[in-house]
Point group: C2
Chain length 151, copies 2
DNA sequence: CTATAAGATTCATTTAAAATGCATCTTATG
DNA sequence: CATAAGATGCATTTTAAATGAATCTTATAG
């Protein structure tokens, strides 16, 4: 049960931008250097985020990346849903390719769906402003429920 | 966001056993045939389940696999937690190997932990008897919340 | 109008994890 | 002792993800 590094980097890139002072512009190279990660990979991450409408990119000298909306208007659930490639927890989630013979009278699928919705519901409660710790909704994040337990 | 096929097969194997009439014994080959999957892979799945105490295996002629406990006493959350290899949603979940520089003042981790706990909490509500649709707690499963939505 | 700094796009390669296959060992029954 | 079962270890294949490299497009400065 993992998210791809692609999704991880998408979130990190957004957090990086969210924390910049006005006008909130940074280049891909700058962010790749900061995180010491492959610039090539980050280029694709930036592209995907731009295509999904989370960031705006400007080419040419003086260009770079900026949030397309204020951080408090970017939901974390939305980002994950649009970035994570494969949300099929198990084979039977994808009807066209399913091979499992239990499909008709098995409640595992319904249960896993419910669990996945619970997962996404939590992410939907928070925004990029929360993740970047910008103060908006920050009081929510100091509640016990937001403290990392050992699973 | 996927579970491994290994986990998927673990659950399917348990459901298969849960549905057998007394004494609930089946061979690995029988289950592999039924699901038309690699017997080799299923051998390892069966092994893992036996090591975790979910099933009992008996060697030799007339041997096979059986549930080690009644289906209603096997929690789905427990199975997933013990079967899924890697529960680190993102890099920073694993402190020793973490490289992310945001770690100190980023609430993404706390949020993802909360989401993961919400996910597991749902699975913890249900047992193998529910998944196998054996009637126990079945009324719970017909509630709207258990109906598969589109994420 | 050219040099340069940026992102966009495409294709190829590498890596790592998962899945699969094969051979051999152990155990139990008739 | 033959056979049917699971157990174990090693090798191979497959797949998705990650990474790398080359080229294209766009914008700005001088």
């Amino acid at each position: 049960m993992q998210l791809t590094q692609f999704t991880d980097l998408s979130l990190r890139l957004l957090i990086y931008l969210a924390r910049l002072p006005e006008p909130g512009l940074a280049t891909i190279s700058e962010i790749a250097d900061y995180h010491q990660i492959s610039r090539n990979h980050l280029v694709k991450v930036a592209n995907s985020l731009a295509n999904q409408g989370f960031i705006m990119s400007t080419r040419g000298k003086g260009g770079g990346l900026q949030l397309a909306r204020p951080a408090y208007a970017i939901g974390l659930g939305e980002v994950v849903r649009r970035t994570e490639q494969n949300m099929n927890l198990v084979e039977c989630f994808d009807i066209p390719s399913n091979q499992c013979r239990l499909i008709r009278n098995c409640f595992l699928k319904a249960t896993l769906y419910e669990a996945q919705r619970a997962f996404m519901s939590v992410l939907d409660k928070y925004t990029l402003a929360d993740a970047a710790n910008l103060g908006v909704n920050a009081e929510l994040l100091s509640l016990p429920t937001a403290t990392p337990p050992l699973t």
